[in-house]
């Protein structure tokens, strides 16, 4: 319903720039938690996921949208123009509300040896980035192994991620969102249960 749409960034240029710097820093320093500025996120998206959508997506980025996030489809289409696809294999971004939606993980593009950058980026909602299970991260961006605490990842996440990391330089990059916080796991980082 168009009449019910909430606005995007209050200041589109500055909003996208500051959110991008948070995402860039998050990708460069895996597991570190960043806070994004206020966005009038449409239900059921979190502020962080909505800000990432506004910052990175446009008509060039096919998006696989979690069926449970259907209510946000109009908002995403209006503000970004991103084509929403039902076929994960054709997507550049995937937006998932819960890890149940991650059953599509294996159908997402992983990139090729010659063009590993063609893999998908997954934006995944989690319950919390401050409490929950601890994971130990190691890899580029980390001077020494770092700990990321996440509530809401699947029980076998470390194993799923290890298979993803083993594909390096191919593989999927993950942006975890909870409320107005986000953290990133690039494919280059190794994850084990802490």
């Amino acid at each position: 319903m168009i009449g019910a749409l909430t606005p995007g960034f209050a200041e589109p240029v500055g909003g996208a720039q500051s959110c991008f710097r948070q995402v860039l820093d998050a990708m460069a320093r895996p597991g570190r938690v960043y806070t994004v500025g206020a966005v009038a996120a449409p239900a059921p998206l979190s502020d962080a996921a909505a800000a990432v959508v506004l910052t990175l997506m446009d008509h060039e980025t096919p998006l696989w949208l979690d069926p449970e996030a259907e209510a946000a489809r109009g908002w995403i289409a209006f503000h970004t123009g991103a084509p929403i696809t039902g076929d994960p294999a054709k997507s550049m971004f995937a937006l998932a509300l819960t890890h149940y939606a991650m059953t599509i993980w294996h159908r997402l593009p992983f990139g090729t040896d010659e063009a590993p950058q063609t893999s998908a980026t997954v934006i995944l909602h989690v319950a919390s980035l401050t409490t929950g299970r601890a994971f130990v991260l190691e890899g580029p961006g980390l001077r020494s192994p770092a700990t990321l605490t996440v509530d809401g990842l699947p029980g076998d996440f470390a194993a799923v991620w290890q298979r993803n990391h083993a594909l390096y330089p191919c593989g999927i990059d993950l942006i975890l969102c909870a409320g107005n916080q986000l953290a990133a796991l690039p494919r280059s980082v190794a994850v084990r249960e802490g």
């Binding site: 589109p12 240029v13 500055g14 996208a16 720039q17 500051s18 991008f20 710097r21 995402v23 860039l24 820093d25 990708m27 460069a28 320093r29 910052t55 990175l56 997506m57 446009d58 060039e60 980025t61 090729t112 040896d113 010659e114 590993p116 950058q117 980026t121 580029p140 961006g141 980390l142 001077r143 390096y168 330089p169 990059d173 690039p186 494919r187 280059s188």
Partner: protein, 288 residues
């Protein structure tokens, strides 16, 4: 500036570059293609670096631009003014004050911090291009991590000259996976890239490639066990500030064979002189 978007580039272009930057950070050392735009200065003048800087720059950033280490040469001055006009950002020549440093062919002497980003202008992003002219072939080599050709080139240098004869743009291995061109910085600067606390971004405008090194990432200059990598520098102290650990430029001072060796990093040299360090030629200059 009226009539232009903040930092010159339109938002659509910035988003495209930002997406490329995120992939570049996730795959350290891998060259990500991007849709390089026409800029209001020719290719070869830092258009890649400018596009990267324009895509990351915010109103609160403090920008420093250097060209061969100097803040006051044409390329540095014009790019600094470009962003002062199009983005209204504060600019500086002091390395410690900057949040974003765009550079042509040098890394500042002062150790960069975690909260800084360094953007390199890159003329030729492909480290193998002198050895293999075909992009199709070099892309395949990167895919297979097949870098034998470069090792043969280094070996032939040693066989012919007794040493590896690369003084700048010395090839590095990033995260033990990708062979990467560090841009034409002197080999002297290569060790600074290894485990650098700051994020390093590279933009090649004409060649339409972006690549990156996240903070705290292993960057190894290629070498052999019996011919280890050596950072080359002129065997002199700086004539003005007396520094013995800074990269030096050789300046011809007259037509009678006069030479002056000075720090290439002008901010570093000025800071040292302000702190009271004086080199041999600095004394003579004062006496004259």
């Amino acid at each position: 500036m009226k009539g232009y978007n903040f930092a010159y580039l339109d938002e659509q272009t910035k988003r495209m570059i930002r997406r490329a930057l995120l992939k570049a950070v996730a795959i350290p050392g891998h060259q990500v293609p991007f849709g390089s735009r026409e800029m209001p200065l020719p290719y070869g003048w830092g258009t890649g670096g400018i596009q990267v800087t324009a895509s990351i720059l915010g109103a609160d950033d403090v920008l420093k631009v250097i060209d061969q280490g100097a803040d006051d040469t044409t390329n540095a001055v014009s790019i600094r003014r470009f962003f002062a006009r199009t983005a209204g950002v504060r600019t500086t020549t002091a390395t410690a004050e900057a949040t974003v440093i765009q550079t042509r062919h040098r890394i500042p002497e002062k150790t960069l911090r975690e909260d800084q980003i360094i953007v390199y202008q890159v003329p030729q992003p492909e480290p193998l291009w002198r050895l293999e002219p075909s992009r199709v072939e070099t892309t395949r080599m990167h895919g297979l991590a097949d870098y034998g050709l470069m090792h043969v080139k280094l070996y032939e240098d040693i066989a012919r000259y007794g040493q590896i004869s690369i003084a700048y743009d010395y090839p590095v291995m990033v995260n033990e996976r990708y062979l990467m061109s560090p841009s034409p910085i002197p080999a002297f600067d290569n060790p600074k890239m290894d485990m650098m606390p700051a994020l390093q971004l590279f933009g090649a405008g004409r060649e339409k490639r972006i690549y990156a090194i996240p903070p705290w990432t292993r960057v190894r200059s290629l070498d052999f066990d019996d011919h280890p990598f050596r950072a080359i520098n002129a065997a002199h102290p700086c004539g003005l500030c007396g520094a013995t650990d800074a990269f030096l430029d050789e300046v011809v001072t007259d037509d009678r064979g006069g030479r002056l060796f000075v720090c290439s990093d002008t901010d570093h040299c000025a800071e040292r002189r302000a702190a009271g360090h004086v080199g041999a030629d600095g004394l003579r200059e004062a006496a004259e």
